[in-house]
Symmetry: C2
Subunit: 237 residues, 2 copies
């Protein structure tokens, strides 16, 4: 069985904090590697020749920042990303990441539901491992569009609106938003146990020592890949 160990939200926050203090990483570095990993997962799922149009939905925090970086790399991989970024967080880094996209003339839209139908894939970078409680405006309409659309979605770290520890919202099977693919950054979060689609991990900057300390597994990366496909929690690999 491929059952993997997971990293809860408090441990994930502590690990980020440790990487940026003891580890001496800057958030610029970590976000660059995270976003690059997301773009490589997208490429593995469907290359730009097949799926040129990617709609990237970004939330106000670091999950949205990962989406901003991913979109830039998607552009350089040959995709045509479109951004939905309605609520920019305070960190000045987000402004710089946005400018980097504007320099490439990547379009920003305010109408997420209208953009869905013009997209081959959607990247959900709305909420990450620090999400809890309720989905705030203007994101309920985004979650609703993700739930009802037939366009495949790659979720970054968490399918937005899922509880990080307890998985999908309790509305009965088939009723929740269930993306086609998930990329777990650094390590899978507990919600990944409820996820049955294609599952990648992007964290080729974590040492075995750090993984041991936090109790998760470093997947087997191939070649120069920044991602590894790990399968579902109960799947035989």
């Amino acid at each position: 069985m491929a059952a993997f160990r997971t990293l809860g939200p408090k441990a994930a926050a502590a690990l980020d904090e440790e990487l940026m203090s003891t580890g001496a990483f800057s958030i610029d570095q970590l976000m660059e590697l995270a976003g690059l990993a997301v773009s490589q997962a997208m490429y593995t799922l469907s290359p730009p020749t097949k799926s040129p149009n990617i709609l990237v939905a970004c939330g106000p925090g670091n999950n949205g920042g990962d989406g901003l970086v991913a979109a830039r790399h998607l552009y350089h991989l040959g995709y045509k990303p479109t951004m939905y970024y309605p609520k920019q967080g305070k960190n000045e880094l987000y402004g710089r990441l946005r400018t980097q996209l504007e320099q490439l003339k990547i379009p920003f839209t305010n109408d997420f539901p209208a953009a869905v139908g013009k997209s081959n894939w959607i990247i959900d970078a709305v909420f990450g491992f620090s999400f809890s409680g309720e989905v705030r405006e203007p994101f309920p309409a985004v979650i609703e569009a993700l739930k009802t659309s037939v366009i495949p979605v790659l979720a970054v770290d968490a399918p937005s609106s899922w509880n990080i520890d307890e998985g999908p919202p309790q509305e009965g099977p088939g009723k929740w938003y269930d993306p086609a693919a998930l990329i777990s950054l650094t390590a899978p979060k507990p919600l990944a146990k409820w996820f049955e689609g294609r599952h990648f991990v992007g964290g080729r900057f974590v040492s075995q020592e750090v993984a041991d300390k936090y109790g998760f597994d470093v997947p087997t990366y191939k070649g120069c890949d920044q991602i590894a496909e790990v399968g579902s929690h109960d799947e035989k690999l």
Copy 2:
């Protein structure tokens, strides 16, 4: 003919400046992508199963910083890097990049010539495009060791001691240090016209618009690669 256009030292400095002002990139981001590209060129030249031991010589400036980042990625790709970093520059980033290596218990050596013979490959990240004039202490012994050793070398942006505009030092053919491989970051510098080994470009963050403005070519990158092999200046590809 594969003759490529090059980027002189003043233009390269202006482009870096533009990327970090108008382009809103941080040096952390650019150096992370540069170092990652270097590690991928190394992997293409010889994977860790064949060449586990890599000696990374880093100079005091940004070329050395690229080497520090490359070494971290080499570690995560499965190599066993050893660092030679005798003269750390002032930018606080270099200190953080060094700490990131120390956290991985990557060894630092003070004796470059002694370390050469224990290495399968050497990465020359001593001087980059801002080099001019003379090779200062303690680096003449490094250049001498590179010149006389049989261990293959991957040079980052420039074979150290070469004149950026005018190529190898004028000591007669076969007398200068001539690395097996070169990775040009962002775009080849003029000295690349004198280089006949395997040649890579790492700059998958530059738009066609920027390349046009500065008068160089964006190579054709494959898949998710952060590097492209471009061949020698006069080689038919």
